[in-house]
């Protein structure tokens, strides 16, 4: 099976779906000749033309609104918000419009749009270009929030998102763009709303998203040599969240740690922990239920500061050891 990058996997999904379904088109800033800020849409203008690879002025709110309006007439737009940080400019259209239209109109219409947005720190882009805002998007019922961590998941979830009749926020991580993995060439989808146990383990359940999945798996590998077996769960979709998989896992391991890059306060870890602790798995919890998240600071520019603003592998390892050994 060919090994391609996370970026290429998303591009492949868009390409294949645009070929398959003429209702699908892209809109966003600089996605045409420039090929997109991260090069994700390179060569797509030549293939599909300026109508379907539609470059827009810098108008995030209207980019999303245009997607909404077009979808009401049966189109399947994939809009891009260049950096997740800019989603705030389009929040009315996402939260008050797209998320609610199916409901407020009594189920009489659907808004089948996908809004792609790369987030995440690690590229030195500083406070306004490095955020992880998925926790905010989770708060609007009617919206779906998808967050792949591997190239395989990225392609499958993108195809599923385009085909989903609901508005989907497709959250990418800019540092993951370069990571590679095996991706089938053909058509396949990954169901939205289903978590994946990326690694089975007996001693502790660790839930992590996007870039933290990779870090946690590395830590798990290391801890395995010391006889600590870590179960790593990647939710893949943040809204609707697959709490059942987590609950069943914690009922087996008795320990839970949630790790995300997003700021700790108000971060989605709290949501997961509340679900688990309030579930029947409570009686099987044998250690404090904890979380690791980004520090409650805007992402700094300095490389060293930027690195330590989010959980590192050493932090994850330390926390897991302490929990398994009963030290905290």
């Amino acid at each position: 099976m060919p090994e391609i990058s996370y970026l290429e996997a998303i591009r492949q999904a868009l390409w294949q779906e645009m070929k398959r379904d003429e209702r699908v088109f892209l809109l966003g800033e600089d996605i045409g000749r420039y090929g997109g800020a991260f090069g994700l849409t390179h060569d797509m203008l030549d293939e599909f033309g300026p109508e379907r690879v539609r470059e827009t002025p810098i108008s995030e709110a209207t980019i999303v609104a245009t997607a909404i309006g077009a979808s009401l007439l049966g189109m399947r737009p994939v809009a891009e918000i260049m950096f997740m940080d800019f989603v705030t400019l389009a929040l009315d259209q996402i939260a008050n419009q797209a998320a609610k239209m199916h409901f407020m109109f009594g189920g009489r219409t659907t808004v089948p749009i996908v809004i792609r947005m790369p987030g995440g720190s690690g590229s030195g882009a500083a406070s306004q270009h490095s955020q992880s805002l998925e926790s905010v998007l989770m708060h609007f019922p009617g919206l779906k929030v998808v967050n792949p961590s591997t190239p395989y998941d990225a392609k499958g979830l993108m195809l599923a998102s385009i085909r989903d009749p609901n508005p989907v926020c497709f959250v990418e991580h800019k540092v993951l763009y370069k990571t590679k993995g095996e991706v089938p060439e053909g058509d396949y989808t990954i169901p939205i709303g289903v978590a994946e146990i990326k690694r089975a383990g007996r001693d502790i359940t660790v839930v992590a998203n996007n870039i933290m999945v990779m870090k946690t798996l590395n830590v798990a590998e290391k801890l395995s040599k010391d006889g600590i077996e870590v179960e790593v769960i990647d939710p893949r979709t943040l809204l609707p969240f697959d709490t059942e998989t987590i609950i069943n896992s914690v009922a087996r391991t008795g320990r839970l740690l949630v790790v995300h890059e997003a700021c700790l306060t108000g971060g989605w870890a709290g949501e997961v922990i509340a679900c688990v602790v309030g579930s029947p798995a409570f009686d099987y919890i044998d250690a404090p239920v904890r979380r690791l998240g980004g520090k409650d600071i805007p992402i700094p520019y300095n490389r060293g500061l930027e690195k330590f603003a989010i959980p590192q592998e050493a932090d994850i390892e330390q926390e897991i050891r302490a929990l398994v050994e009963g030290k905290i």
Partner: protein, 345 residues
């Protein structure tokens, strides 16, 4: 686009000759005219009934009534086609009725009933009827303006004959998305007819205190969009301007912007006690510039209707409203067991 067209018409069509000449030029039949009249009466009755129902405690929440603005709604509806797409704002009852909405279902939605257009989930501010290409009212001021870009884009990509009509108020013209949208519809030459219903007030802000340069329609020029400004209380004038605009848009020449000057009699919403405008002003508009009064005068003058016929039509309109209230009151509320429905498709 010529400079002339952009100015507010100074000549009105007060005299019989002027009226008949315009009607002839526009090719409006008696049937058309009576239709306009009926529409305006229906809207007027609906709005007053809504107010009554609220006072009687039968409608909860709030509502935004457009009594006084009937001519704009009626004029537009005749100038466009029934299957043209409509994006509306929260003061939109008139436009729905003019587009041919089922009054029963509107009233039921008003009362939050399961038989309403939105199954009781939306209420007054979110009424939509996708069957007739009525894409719904928006509760966010200006929320629909950029969505019209998308509708126009889809129409263009699908090579369709319909156009998108997007109606908003004077207050919405100051939202950021207004400018984003104007820019983009013009850029891509999309088939969108933007109509600004300027009723002189946002919520309590006089349009002159909120808007740096009037008329609002002139902003369209900055984006290269042809524009017109019209007396919104003279239904034939409205029709005239809207027809030109709609035809322009439908021909693929790109967007058009029409501003209609009108006035609302009720406060912004139910909690508005009209403290920001004087009784004199309201009465002046009611007595001297009421659109229905003016049109009735035309019709009677030109002997298209006589007194009793006019009354008859008014009475029929009222009946339709009363029947709708009956229907709505008899309709069931949505069942609590359906609370979680319609979140996801």
């Amino acid at each position: 686009m010529s400079k002339d067209k952009g100015k507010i018409k100074e000549k009105d069509i007060g005299t019989r000759e002027q009226f008949e000449e315009r009607v002839k030029r526009l090719g409006l039949s008696d049937k058309n005219l009576i239709g306009l009249y009926r529409t305006m009466c229906t809207v007027r009755h609906f709005e007053y009934m809504a107010d009554k129902l609220y006072a009687a405690g039968k409608v909860h929440g709030t509502m935004h009534l457009s009594a006084g603005q009937e001519a704009v709604a009626a004029g537009i509806s005749l100038a466009v086609r029934p299957d043209d797409y409509l994006i509306n704002h929260h003061r939109g009852h008139g436009h729905f009725i003019a587009k041919g909405a089922d009054i029963n279902l509107m009233m039921a939605e008003f009362l939050g009933k399961d038989t309403g257009y939105n199954r009781g989930r939306g209420g007054s501010m979110h009424i939509a009827d996708f069957q007739s290409n009525n894409l719904g009212a928006n509760g966010i001021v200006g929320g629909g303006i950029p969505q019209a870009v998308g509708v126009g884009l889809a129409l263009q990509m699908q090579k369709r004959k319909e156009i998108c009509i997007c109606i908003f108020g004077d207050g919405a013209a100051n939202e950021g998305v207004f400018h984003e949208a104007m820019n983009m519809v013009a850029l891509w030459k999309l088939p969108v007819l933007y109509i600004c219903e300027n009723n002189k007030y946002g919520m309590s802000m006089d349009v002159e205190r909120a808007t740096a340069k009037l008329p609002i329609a002139q902003r369209a020029e900055a984006y290269g969009i042809p524009w017109a400004c019209v007396d919104g209380n003279e239904v034939v004038e409205v029709y005239d301007a809207m027809k030109i605009a709609a035809d322009h848009v439908r021909s693929g020449k790109g967007p058009y912007f029409v501003e209609a000057i009108t006035y609302r009699y009720f406060g912004h919403s139910k909690s508005d006690r009209n403290l920001y405008r004087s009784k004199e002003e309201i009465n002046d508009w009611k007595q001297n510039r009421d659109p229905i009064m003016r049109f009735t005068k035309h019709l009677l003058q030109s002997e298209i209707l006589d007194e009793s016929q006019a009354q008859e039509i008014g009475g029929q309109a009222e009946q339709v409203i009363l029947k709708a209230v009956e229907f709505a009151e008899a309709s069931p509320e949505p069942d609590i067991s359906t609370l979680m429905e319609f979140v996801y498709a």
